[in-house]
Structures are given as C-alpha cells and as structure tokens.
C-alpha cells in the first residue's frame, strides 16, 4: 500500500506505544517518517528498525514542551527528509502518582505534576504545530492529527484531572485550527482513543482496565494499530474533506 508516497510525517512520542504504531503505519504506507521522542535511544531504535525495512526514517530526540528543542528538530527533519506535510501530535504523559498505580486525586496533586502534564500534552502540540505550519502554508497542503482521548470528552475514572484537561484542550485546539488552516489546504483532526493496550495503559491498575473492557461493546482493549490505522486514514486522500473532527477509537466505550 503506497497511499503516502512522497509524504514526510513527523510523529511525536513515537519511540513506543501508539506513537510508534502511527509512525510505523505511515512508513509502511510509503511516507518518510520522523520518529521524535523524548528518549533518544527509543527514537533512534525505532528509526533504525524502519530503515532496516528499507524505509526513509529519521530518529530525533526533543522535549515537545521546549519550543527551541522542537524547532531545532523540525528544522533538521525538513533539511534531511524534505518539508513536513504530516504532523501527528501524539506525545503525552498520564502520571499515576497515587497509591496502587492510580491517579493522584486533584486535592493531592502537586502543582508541578499539573504543570508538566499541561506542558507536554497541550503546549507540546502548540509547539510542534507552530514549528511546522509555516512550511505547510508554503506547500499549500498539510495534515495535522492530535491524539486526544475519550477522557477529554467525558469523565473517565482512571486518569487525572490534568490529563483530562489537556485532552479536552486538544479538542478545542483541533477545532479552532481547522477553521484557521482550512483555507490553506491543511486539515486538522484528532483521534480519541479509549483503552488501548500500551505501556501507558499498563501503568494503570489492571482491575480498572478490566472494568473498562467489560463495558466496551467490542469486549476488548484496542491495539496501538487500531489507532494508527485511523490516523493513517485521516492523513490519506480518503479523508480529503474531513476536518475539525475528533474520532473515537474506543470500541464503542462511552460513545462520546
């Protein structure tokens, strides 16, 4: 399948989990892929594996919360692979600093934990988007997809308030930017995963995860590939008239 030949996709948080699957799916579809991750070893390993399959790939380390770090990475990516026309804002953290792998309740949450989640999950998306949109405007095309969450749309008794607030923030970010950037041929969408079997999910107490599975109509956890295929659809020509959407990939859980 070569739906993305000639495209250059930058995926944040792509060292592992959902981001890794999104980046791999774009590579398999023919895109050149920038694996951007906070952890240089993970980014480089992911890119090396893709390169071993004959794909164009570049592993870069950056902290999405730091604009200068992001801007430098984007500049290097464009210089190496060409202008970025697909951006996936996927990097995210969901601290479970409470007892037994549960979220910290709001009344016990440290302001520094709140701030770090805001910085990575929401400001990180602004930073990356800010860095690539001028290039997309010049190209006259672009695809931006952010990883939100069903927790950004309704109460999920697993995540912390910081995570929910940032995932809701990404929805406003998406809808607003779709309006601003549509006239330049840039679509802006989001995916809202439910419980997806990833390292991040496994940081949650397993009883809590099993309780979600029991009320998910499709009776299973999602896979990182389930989310990746939806992202790949949104960045493909098949979704050329789809913008400002937040698509649940949740097996029917919550039907938000």
């Amino acid at each position: 399948m070569s739906t993305h030949t000639g495209r250059v996709a930058l995926v944040t948080g792509s060292g592992r989990g959902i981001g890794r699957a999104i980046a791999d799916a774009h590579g398999a579809a023919g895109a050149a892929v920038v694996y951007l991750d906070h952890d240089p070893a993970l980014a480089e390993a992911a890119a090396a594996e893709a390169a071993a399959k004959g794909r164009k790939a570049l592993g870069l380390a950056a902290d999405v919360a730091d604009y200068a770090s992001v801007a430098a990475a984007c500049e290097k990516a464009a210089a190496t692979l060409g202008p970025i026309d697909v951006l996936i804002n996927n990097a995210g953290i969901s601290p479970k600093s409470g007892s037994d792998g549960k979220r910290a309740p709001m009344w016990e949450m440290s302001p520094s934990e709140w701030q770090r989640v805001l910085d990575v999950n929401l400001t990180g998306a602004f930073n990356c988007t800010r860095a690539v949109v001028p290039g997309m405007r010049e190209l006259g095309r672009g695809r931006i997809v952010s990883t939100s969450s069903v927790a950004g749309k309704t109460f999920c008794d697993i995540v912390g308030v910081h995570y929910a607030a940032t995932k809701a923030g990404l929805i406003g970010f998406t809808k607003h930017l779709a309006g601003e950037l549509g006239p330049f041929g840039i679509t802006v969408n989001a995916v809202a995963p439910g419980r997806i079997d990833t390292p991040l999910m496994r940081g949650t107490a397993s009883a809590a995860n099993d309780a979600v599975k029991a009320i998910t109509p499709l009776r299973r956890f999602g896979t990182a590939e389930d989310v990746a295929e939806t992202c790949l659809f949104l960045t493909s020509d098949a979704a050329s008239f789809v913008t400002a959407q937040v698509i649940d990939v949740a097996g029917g859980w919550l039907m938000t």
Binding site: K175, A178, L218, F233, A238, F241, T243, V249, G251
Partner: protein, 251 residues
C-alpha cells in the same frame, strides 16, 4: 480511483444507490472487489447504474426498493443472500430532502420524510441483520442537518438526528460481532444540494463559511464509508463521522 481495501468475496447492500453518494459508494466497493446489491426506488436507474459499473452484472445485482416499505427491505435482503450467500456491509443511502417550513408542512410531507429517512433505515437494517456475517459493518448515512438542524428541513433533520441515535443503539445490540457507525455529510456536490445553493447566492456564502472553501465530492464520502467498513476501523463502533470540510465544527 485509489482503493486501499480488499473487499473481495464480501457483499455490500446499499439503498438509494442511484443518488450521487450511493453511486460513489457502489463504485468504490465494486472497485475494491465487493459484490454489490444496489437498490433504489427507481428500478431502471438502478439497472443502468449496475450495468455502468459492471456490464456483465457478474458482481452487481440491481433491485427495486422503496425504502419506506418493510416488505421491499425483506425482499432485497433475501435476494442479496440468494445471489451472494450473505451480507457483510449495509449502507443506508436512500434519502429524501425537500424544502418545507414547519408552519406550512403537510402531514404527508412530514410522514414521507420520516418514512424514507428514518423508517427506511430501520427496515433495511432489520432485514439485513440475520444475514450478516461476523466482522460485518453497517454505515448509516445521516447528515450535518441531524446535528445542527436545517432551515426549512425540520422533517429531514429530525429523521437524521434519530438515525444517529438509532445507529449508536444498534452498535450496542450487535457488538462485538458487527460494527455500526454513521457518516454525516455536509454539502456534497450533486443534485440534492442544488436548491440549497441557489437559495444561498449560488452557494458562494456557504462555501465561504466552509474552512476548506469548496463543496465535498461524493467520492469523499465513499472513501470514509469504505474506511469504516474496513478492518482499519476495527475498533470503531457507535461513532458518527462528519465529512463537511469544517462547515459544522461541534461535538
């Protein structure tokens, strides 16, 4: 047309196949290898469409179906099974979009819109479900009007809003074996929107309000429906996808 899915050996039942969206869906699924049962109120147009897509009619079966008639739905499902063995995909594309203000709307106008746009979805899904294979997928075509309302189309918007909640309920009933989703088109180029465009200065105003600055094309609906029917959307059920170029931005 770029097709990215392999639907060979699988069977689509689509109502309202002669409409511009229905036709694009049938063309895309046929090109992806599916058998297609194309039904429409207008039997001769359905036959002409079928011959256009597949001159030998080897994988396309045209049928007459008045979406408002339960017996027609049962007959279409039965014919689909007799010809192709089972049903994998159902797309309810039959729709009726007429202008009428509520204060002036006749009982018959109201009734006909609900009959086609809502009852027809129920009849077709009910008839197809017993014949659907595991891993199948239903996509009901709703509308932007079902989310935000539509001036002079209260009957249409009410029916489409109901289709959205019908689809979510059916998703619960048929999970985990069959997925059910809805697609809500915005302004898609074709005969259905011509009147609306004329009422809005040739559509210029509506296009100006659309972030992507154009009307959608029928194939841009078909590609989203194909995605929803494919295994790529294997964890999606009970969702509604908007395809409107950003004209309606809401949850």
């Amino acid at each position: 047309m770029t097709t990215t899915h392999d639907f060979s050996g699988r069977t689509l039942l689509i109502t309202g196949a002669v409409g511009s969206i229905g036709r694009a869906v049938a063309e895309r699924f046929f090109a992806s290898g599916a058998n297609c049962v194309v039904t429409d109120l207008d039997e001769s147009a359905a036959t002409a469409l079928a011959r256009d897509i597949d001159p030998g009619l080897t994988r396309v079966l045209p049928l007459a179906q008045d979406a408002a008639k339960p017996d027609d739905a049962a007959r279409a499902a039965k014919a689909a099974v007799e010809r192709f063995g089972a049903i994998d995909f159902v797309v309810t594309s039959a729709g009726l979009y007429r202008d009428a203000l509520v204060a002036e709307m006749s009982d018959a106008e109201w009734r006909r819109s609900i009959d086609i746009n809502l009852d027809g979805v129920f009849y077709t899904c009910r008839a197809a479900i017993p014949h659907m294979r595991e891993g199948g997928s239903i996509v009901n075509i709703a509308s932007m009007a079902g989310h935000r309302g539509s001036f002079a189309h209260a009957h249409y918007a009410a029916a489409k809003g109901a289709v959205l909640t019908f689809s979510r309920s059916l998703a619960l009933e048929l999970a985990p074996k069959i997925r059910v989703n809805a697609v809500s088109p915005g302004l898609i180029d074709g005969p259905m929107v011509q009147n609306l465009l004329q009422m809005n200065a040739g559509g210029a105003r509506l296009i100006e309000q659309t972030p992507l600055k154009r009307l959608g094309r029928p194939d841009e609906i078909a590609s989203v429906i194909a995605f929803l029917c494919s295994s790529d959307a294997g964890f999606m059920t009970g969702t509604s996808l908007h395809v409107n170029g950003g004209l309606h931005i809401a949850s």
